[in-house]
Amino acid sequence: MNFIVNGKDYYTEKTLTIADLIKEINIDADIFIVNSFPVAASYIINDSDVITLIKKGSILDKEYLEYQLISRQGLKEYNILKNSSAVICGLGGLGSNAAVSLARAGIGRLKLIDFDIVEPSNINRQAYFLEQIGINKTDALKEIINKISPYINVEISNIYLDETNILSELSGFQIILECFDSVSSKMLLIEKCVNNMPESYIIGASGVAGYYNTDIFKQKYIGSNCIIIGDFENEAGINHGLYAPRVAAAANIQANEAIRHLLKDK
């Protein structure tokens, strides 16, 4: 019988429970996750199981840590996501929250693009911390992602995307997340990229302001390689604020679309 323990192949002729396995390999552990779900020590191991053994509150060797981080996800999926890439355009309420979710899911290569710095009016909905006020959003978000997972390759580009640079900055990524605040930048990305970048899947947002019921979020497709999420009505404006719950909900719908596309759940 073959199975995987903390990312490594394991072979035995015996029938083992998790408790037996812990004794046999002499690992201190009190959380046992098999095929993405926690089990009891009495669980009888099956052929091809993916097992992660964790000692609560401890950070084990770096070689095991990566598998512990993703033990609730599924190894097959993780290996696909680790070899995937996404570029996030605009690191505000949509982009910063989407990037954090994609990093947690283990997307191996993330590129972060924004021209601006973190300021106090961002904190109500964006992923940044007070201590990061005044620094580039790209640097601030890279720092946050590095603290979540050291296994993500993060590239940054501290520029304003316009029609002269957008195609070259975004080329070579499987996923393009349109996370701008300004409507003209949103339009530019869709107009430039949908026709010209058929190999990339573009995920945008329109209508995420306020605290309206999220059940009015819709999904609209453009061409064969673009989807837009939002209510297509509620614009940020005077007396029309942006709130963390709704904008982060839209950001995470965008991130979920990215995962669905990469894992071919469609």
């Binding site: 701008f180 409507v183 107009e191 329109s206 609209k220 061409g223």
Partner: protein, 66 residues
């Protein structure tokens, strides 16, 4: 001729442009992405794009905020 716009079928005169369809439906040009038969049409080409019979058009409104 029959054209589908945002999922609904409309009748228009032959050789109508995308711009005239948008005007006749009383849709604001501002911040609209237009997709005709799966291709995005740039705003500056709305008045030059002649729509053929049985075309499928999606007009998607973009609003700011993020």
């Amino acid at each position: 001729m029959q054209i589908k716009v945002n999922g609904k079928i409309y009748n228009f005169d032959d050789n109508i442009t995308l711009e005239n369809i948008i005007n006749q439906l009383n849709i604001s040009h501002q911040n609209i992405i237009a997709e005709v038969n799966g291709q995005v049409v740039l705003k500056e080409k709305f008045n030059k794009t002649v729509i053929e019979d049985n075309s499928v058009i999606e007009l998607i409104k973009f609003v700011g905020g993020g």
